[in-house]
């Protein structure tokens, strides 16, 4: 019995757990639904995007009415609902599309709207100051070090003075003549003469260190790997390409067509930011800069006359003497953007991932296989190389002349 009881208990336990978890899983995700279905036209605040802001909407209207409205606002209006007609007229008679959502899902969405509105009210304005923190830690390490050094130096001076005094006292005591006091220069020369080996070793060490350091310094001139300049707009690739999974070429569309990958023009930003007026990290501040550049009025949805171009700071600076064509690599070579630009989808602030040196280019051309299959341009080449190198050979870029000067320099 006992065992059975235990089993029953177990069964009941699991049953409830499963049920609860099922309930939990079945609970519609209001946030996700809101973002996919509503955020294009509505915000959770009180600002108007296309439709009105939804802050406090559950307080103003009955949930039943909201469900009906969401499912088909036009049915409600045609039925002559006074409230619905008023809302419709107030919002310039823009028809809200019918949303194919269940009642539960709609309730979840409005639940999320309430939560989001509360959260905004609760969240204090946080200005993260990572930089200051790191500066402080830097100071924290440096300060005691300096103190220790000063103390040690003081000890050294005191000990040295004591040693001299003792030596004088000893000589006096022994009745020997005091050596003539040496000038600083003479003292130095004397010391050097006495420590030739040490000096020689020091010079050698210094010379080797200097040459190595100098060599690398010279080799690094003009290389800006890791260059991470501040941009006029705090655009985050991490948010756009990472979190939101926007394809690179949605914005950098000319990478497939031409030489430049192209910084998107502001009207491309506006494809989304006409609707998304507030971002998750910087709020309205940065998006407002796009509006300012275009002299865009969110209320009327029009561009004004006082447009000012956005002056981005170029991160990847290839010298003029090298010709690089994006479409050759993106469209023909089918190289992923990340191969050269690194994990852009993880970069909040974009930095130069690769050294962009000629050696780096050449290395890649030596190791990358050419996508010859299906491209009839390479038919002759393919045949030639198979004849020459064998069918198993790795047909890399350098084998089709990818290391020749005039491929990049003209």
């Amino acid at each position: 019995m006992n065992g059975l009881n235990r089993n029953t208990l177990r069964f009941t336990y699991f049953f409830f757990i499963t049920l609860i978890s099922y309930r939990l899983a079945a609970q519609p995700d209001g946030e996700a639904l809101f973002k996919t279905n509503c955020a294009v036209c509505h915000s959770t605040g009180d600002n108007k995007v296309i439709g009105p802001g939804l802050k406090g909407i559950t307080g103003q209207r009955e949930m039943d009415w909201l469900i009906k409205w969401t499912k088909s606002s036009q049915t409600l209006i045609k039925a002559g609902d006074a409230e619905a007609v008023r809302v419709f007229n107030e919002n310039n008679k823009i028809v809200m599309p019918d949303q194919p959502l269940t009642d539960e899902e709609i309730i979840a969405v409005f639940h999320y709207v309430d939560e989001a509105a509360k959260k905004v009210a609760e969240t204090p304005v946080v200005t993260p100051s990572v930089a200051t923190e790191s500066e402080q830690t830097g100071n924290n390490i440096r300060l005691p070090l300096i103190i220790i050094l000063v103390v040690l130096f003081a000890f050294f001076l005191i000990l040295n003075a004591t040693r001299k005094k003792l030596k004088q006292a000893y000589l006096l005591k022994e009745g020997e003549q005091l050596p003539e006091p040496l000038s600083v220069k003479q003292a130095c020369i004397k010391w050097i003469k006495g420590n030739k080996k040490l000096i020689a070793i020091l010079i050698i060490i210094f010379a080797v260190w200097g040459s190595v350091k100098g060599w690398y310094t010279l080799a690094d001139i003009g290389i800006q790997q890791g260059y991470e300049p501040d941009q006029p707009i705090k655009f985050s690739h991490k948010l756009h390409a990472g979190t939101n999974q926007i394809d690179c070429q949605y914005c950098h569309s000319s990478a497939a067509k031409g030489r430049n990958s192209g910084i998107p023009s502001a009207n491309v930003c506006m494809n989304c930011h006409r609707f998304i007026q507030e971002g998750p990290t910087t709020g309205k501040e940065e998006i407002a800069k796009i509006y300012a550049a275009l002299d865009y009025d969110p209320n009327t949805g029009t561009y004004g006359p006082n447009q000012k171009p956005i002056q981005w700071v170029q991160v990847h600076n290839l010298p003029d003497l090298a010709y690089f064509n994006h479409s050759q690599h993106v469209t023909v070579g089918k190289i992923a953007c990340q191969t050269c630009h690194g994990p852009v989808e993880e970069m909040d602030v974009l930095y130069q991932y690769s050294p962009l040196t000629m050696g780096w280019c050449v290395d890649c051309h030596r190791n990358t296989e050419v996508k010859m299959e299906g491209n009839h341009y390479y038919d002759n080449y393919h045949k030639y190389l198979i004849d020459k190198e064998g069918a198993e050979a790795k047909l890399t870029v350098d084998k089709i002349g990818g290391l020749e000067c005039a491929r990049c320099h003209y």
Partner: protein
């Protein structure tokens, strides 16, 4: 008999200076003297500069400058950064016409190409069309409207001009619009509307270089005051009298294209036209003729009458009185040739004398050429200037009868023989307005200066040949505060449509009605052909006899030929440094014009090259330097138009001599062939010209550079003239190129797996016009170096057109006979041969092996590559190049006040091709075979997953060539035109015996003698 080739008199006479230059490794030795440029640098200065330089370099190395990237705010849909767009348009500046495609990058035009849809010029252009793009970026353009020299605004100008015009019209004062030829139907309508509004208006068209003699002759003989349209392509026999029809005459690009069609031969087409030229000056056309006879200026009329008489006797028509010339035999022979191909022949004369042109019409009528090679029903509109009306205006102005004068794209103060009188009379006009792009000699004397758009900023249309239209659209927003001339006229006339674009569109909706084409089609294609309307004209021979009598009057004294130089033309583009630096095809001089005389005449007059002479014609005396030019008739002085500008702009001011004052108004036209001139004074001087003819002399001579044959020989043997050198080896005599040090059976040379780029140049089609040189300059950011540098042999052109004279004299036999006198004859009347020369892209390149840093290497596609940033400037390659096609950057030619041309100002630099780097000081450069175009073409093919098609990639020179003499292509594609031409028995490589194995081939010149 062996032919001897020579580049100039210096070589023929073995001038010690020429021999020194030819044999020396470099033109001059280091160190380079800079004292001519600036005070000498002292050692202290050097140390200072070096110290500063090192400091600056280390500082600069510490931190890279922050570069800004500024994208469009709202990107136009058709623009992709880095990808060019092409727009169809039309170039017409009152002188040259071409239907063109404008290449724009990121919204700025950078290159002009021919429009292949145009039946007038097709893909061809000339040097001036190619150079016209630089006019857009000319800092010397007027940038704001001016009232009496003071910067004003359009509103003020419009208000003042309109009120003054209304006032003048109210009191019945005469209003005159003076313009160069207008071929735009919409503009003509604008002027007609203006005339309706102000009925006292009269529109006068005036060409700087007049063709009114022909227009008037056609009026007299056919009753139609217009120029005919010629079809040189239908002619089997072409005879030119002082007529430079492939260089500068009416529509040179069109005629050159047609002409070349008759000159090209292949295994499928074994006939070519015969071209006979009678002239006193050596023109570009004359230098291309199969047979060229020298006649003096005062024989021009007599020669025409003599030709008429012979033909008349054959045709059974009446003779025009006895005419005898120094070339009677030649004329008889020519008449035979013409008569043999009557109905398929063409006689043209460049004289602007009505009488001469009446006789020419008579000749063509006898030969039955009207309706076949000459079409008067579809006339050419390219020259409409009416000299009589211009002269009448001059009289009116002098008498103070003109109240308002609007000068539209015309510069009479400079181009009129009585320019000074015109300038003085301009002061008497109540209202003077100039519409134009430059504050030139005329505009600066007008009260109101209304800057016009450059043609690349304008809307326009054109009707170069009746029924053949082309469109012009803006390719950039106006750079300065300018306004389209037509818009100004519309506003002043108070027209309801004040914008010319709208006006033109309305006009075109009428013109296009009934056609399947829309306005968009018209703008996109750039051309529109209306159906031809046949109009019959009948010949009236009553004028012939009077014309003959007038033509036979022979004035004594020297003759003066006023001609157009192929680069500068009439001088409207005088401020264009590309044109100034383009060597004249014949004299090979840059940055100058001169009085050219023949060797015999110079000897007779005691002239030495570089002397300054005063030439007197009537009451006009002009001073200028003397050039001794082979090929000129005796007793003749030739001087070009287009130079001696005083207010052209920075580059063009004060260069050369202005010869327009000689073009006096006589017998109803402005004359260009003047008899009875004299040299009134000779000043011994040593004026130095900046010539390039003896620079870069190829080693070796004989038949390894130039090869030619005759048509009859060629028909017998297609390889005739294509001889090669043989050397003796242990295996006996072999072709020099087969004795190879490099290629062994084990190592047969480098593989060319996918492409082998090459170029074939048909010497039979090359006319030497220089369009390719300017196209190359525009495409490859070639700098302008100026006269001083050119005289030091430091021109930077990547391609040159070598002009060789040849003569049948055999120096060996002559030396044997000790007959030095015989050597004089060839130099007096040489045959001319043009050879475009650029990097030959040798497969066994001598330059590559001597580069100590491997900066110049060979590609697997047959290109000789040049990596500028690897070059350390030893110039070994230049020395080792047998073709002398490498150029060294002696200076930094951009942002350098010593080279104050287009690359020294921010506007001029907008023209630079962004796909080609601008080279800096101390590196070598040369023709890359337009590798940027090859790469772009290959990339396009790769993106589309297909092989490169023949003709898809064209180098700038091949694309610009009006005669398609230059053909670029892939030799590995056996179907390509270049590949087929290369395998023709006529093809050869220059200096074959050196076994450099070039990828540039030439085809033997064939003369139809």
């Amino acid at each position: 008999m062996e032919k001897q080739y020579w580049k100039g008199l210096e070589e023929l006479n073995n001038d010690p200076e020429f021999v020194r230059l030819k044999n020396n490794e470099f033109y001059e030795l280091l160190p380079v003297k800079e004292s001519d440029h600036k005070p000498e640098t002292t050692r202290r200065d050097f140390l200072k500069y070096m110290g500063f330089g090192i400091a600056a370099a280390s500082l600069a190395a510490c931190e890279a400058p922050v570069k800004k990237a500024i994208p469009y705010l709202i990107k136009p849909e058709e623009i992709t950064p880095g990808v060019p767009n092409y727009y169809a348009s039309t170039f017409f500046d009152g002188y040259d016409y071409a239907s063109i495609l404008v290449k724009t990058r990121e919204g700025r035009p950078i290159k002009v190409e021919g429009n292949e849809l145009s039946s007038v010029n097709n893909t061809g252009t000339n040097a001036r069309t190619q150079a016209s793009i630089l006019g857009l970026y000319d800092e010397g353009r007027i940038q704001n409207p001016l009232i009496k020299e003071k910067v004003s605004d359009w509103k003020t100008i419009d208000a003042e001009v309109t009120s003054k015009l209304t006032e003048i019209a109210a009191k019945q004062g005469n209003i005159r619009i003076l313009s160069s030829t207008i071929i735009s139907p919409s503009t003509k309508k604008v002027i007609a509307d203006f005339t309706t509004k102000f009925p006292t208006t009269k529109h006068i068209q005036y060409d700087a270089i007049s063709h009114f003699g022909m227009i008037k002759a056609n009026k007299l003989t056919f009753g139609k005051a217009a120029l005919p349209n010629y079809s040189f392509d239908k002619a089997n026999c072409i005879v030119g009298f002082e007529c430079d029809f492939i260089g500068n005459w009416i529509s040179p690009v069109q005629y050159a294209r047609q002409y070349a069609q008759t000159r090209k031969i292949s295994s499928d087409k074994k006939n070519m036209s015969q071209h006979i030229q009678f002239e006193s000056n050596l023109s570009l056309t004359g230098s291309n003729a199969d047979i060229r006879y020298k006649i003096q200026v005062n024989e021009h009329g007599a020669a025409l009458v003599a030709l008429y008489n012979i033909l008349a006797s054959k045709a059974g028509a009446a003779s025009l009185g006895t005419a005898s010339t120094s070339v009677d035999q030649a004329i008889a022979k020519t008449a035979e040739s013409l008569w043999g191909s009557r109905g398929k022949s063409l006689v043209v004369s460049g004289s602007n004398d009505v009488n001469h042109q009446v006789i020419v019409n008579g000749i063509n009528q006898l030969l039955g050429n009207y309706g076949s090679t000459i079409d008067l029903s579809r006339q050419s509109n390219l020259r409409q200037g009416n000299d009589e009306e211009m002269n009448e205006l001059m009289t009116e102005l002098k008498e103070g009868k003109v109240a308002a004068l609007i000068i539209y794209n015309s510069n009479p103060v400079y181009t009129l023989a009585d320019g000074e009188a015109f300038a003085a009379a301009l002061g008497k006009v109540e209202l003077s307005v100039a519409i134009g792009t430059h504050k030139d000699e005329t505009a600066s004397r007008c009260q109101y200066l209304c800057p016009d758009h450059h043609y690349l900023e304008s809307w326009n249309d054109a009707e170069p040949i009746a029924g053949h239209y082309s469109s012009c659209q803006p390719t950039i927003r106006p750079l300065y505060n300018t306004r389209q001339g037509q818009t100004s006229l519309l506003i002043w006339a108070g027209n309801a449509t004040s914008d010319f674009h709208d006006y033109m569109q309305v006009n075109w909706s009428n013109l296009l009605s009934g056609s399947s084409k829309t306005w968009q089609n018209f703008i996109q294609d750039g051309v529109f052909e209306a159906p031809a309307t046949a109009e019959s004209v009948s010949f009236n021979d009553s004028e012939l006899i009077n014309a003959a009598i007038a033509s036979l009057v022979k004035k004594q004294g020297a003759g003066l030929v006023l001609y157009e130089m192929t680069a500068m033309g009439n001088g409207i583009q005088a401020n264009n440094p590309w044109l100034l630096e383009l060597p004249d095809p014949i004299t090979r001089l840059t940055w100058d014009n001169f009085f050219a005389v023949s060797i015999a005449y110079a000897k007779q007059q005691g002239l030495v090259q570089g002397n300054i002479i005063e030439v007197k014609s009537g009451n006009k005396t002009i001073k200028g330097p003397v050039l001794i030019q082979p090929g000129l008739a005796n007793n003749t002085i030739a001087v070009s138009y287009g130079f001696g500008r005083t207010q052209a702009g920075k580059a063009g001011n004060g260069i050369g001599i202005n010869s327009y004052p000689f073009a006096i108004f006589s017998e109803g036209t402005f004359q260009n062939l003047i008899s009875g001139v004299e040299i009134s004074k000779t000043i011994e001087d040593n004026y130095s010209f900046a010539g390039v003819q003896t620079h870069h002399t190829l080693m070796g001579r004989n038949h390894d550079i130039l090869k030619e044959t005759t048509l009859t020989e060629w028909i017998k043997d297609p390889a005739s003239g294509n001889t090669y050198e043989e050397i003796t080896t242990y295996q006996g005599k072999v072709r020099a190129a087969q004795a190879d040090l490099w290629a062994t059976p084990k190592q047969p040379g480098h593989d060319k797996p996918n492409h082998l780029w090459g170029m074939v140049i048909d010497l039979n089609a090359c006319i030497g016009c220089g369009a390719c040189v300017v196209a190359c300059t525009a495409e490859n950011n070639v700098p302008v170096v100026g006269k001083d540098e050119i005289s030091r042999s430091r021109e930077m052109h990547w391609m040159r057109i070598d002009r060789y004279y040849s003569s049948d004299a055999d120096p060996k036999t002559n030396h044997d006979k000790k007959d030095y006198a015989a050597m004089e004859i060839p130099s007096d009347s040489p045959q001319v041969l043009f050879q475009p020369m650029m990097c030959q892209h040798c497969n066994h390149a001598p330059c590559e092996t001597v580069c100590p840093v491997a900066a110049t290497t060979h590609s697997s596609e047959g290109l000789n590559m040049m990596a500028y940033n690897r070059c350390v400037g030893t110039r070994y390659c230049e020395n080792n190049c047998p073709y002398k096609v490498r150029r060294f950057n002696w200076f930094k030619y951009f942002d350098n006040d010593q080279f104050d041309y287009n690359m020294n100002n921010p506007v001029g630099k907008l023209q630079l091709n962004p796909d080609v780097i601008v080279r800096s000081r101390g590196v070598m450069e040369k023709c890359s075979l337009c590798v940027q175009r090859i790469q772009a073409g290959k990339l396009q093919a790769k993106k589309e997953g297909r092989p490169v098609e023949d003709g898809e990639i064209k180098t700038a020179c091949a694309q610009a060539c009006p005669t398609n003499a230059i053909v670029f292509g892939d030799y590995l594609n056996s179907e390509s035109q270049a590949s087929r031409m290369k395998d023709d028995p006529r093809s050869y490589v220059v200096l074959e015996h050196l076994n450099t194995q070039p990828n540039v081939y030439y085809q033997v010149k064939v003369r139809n003698v």
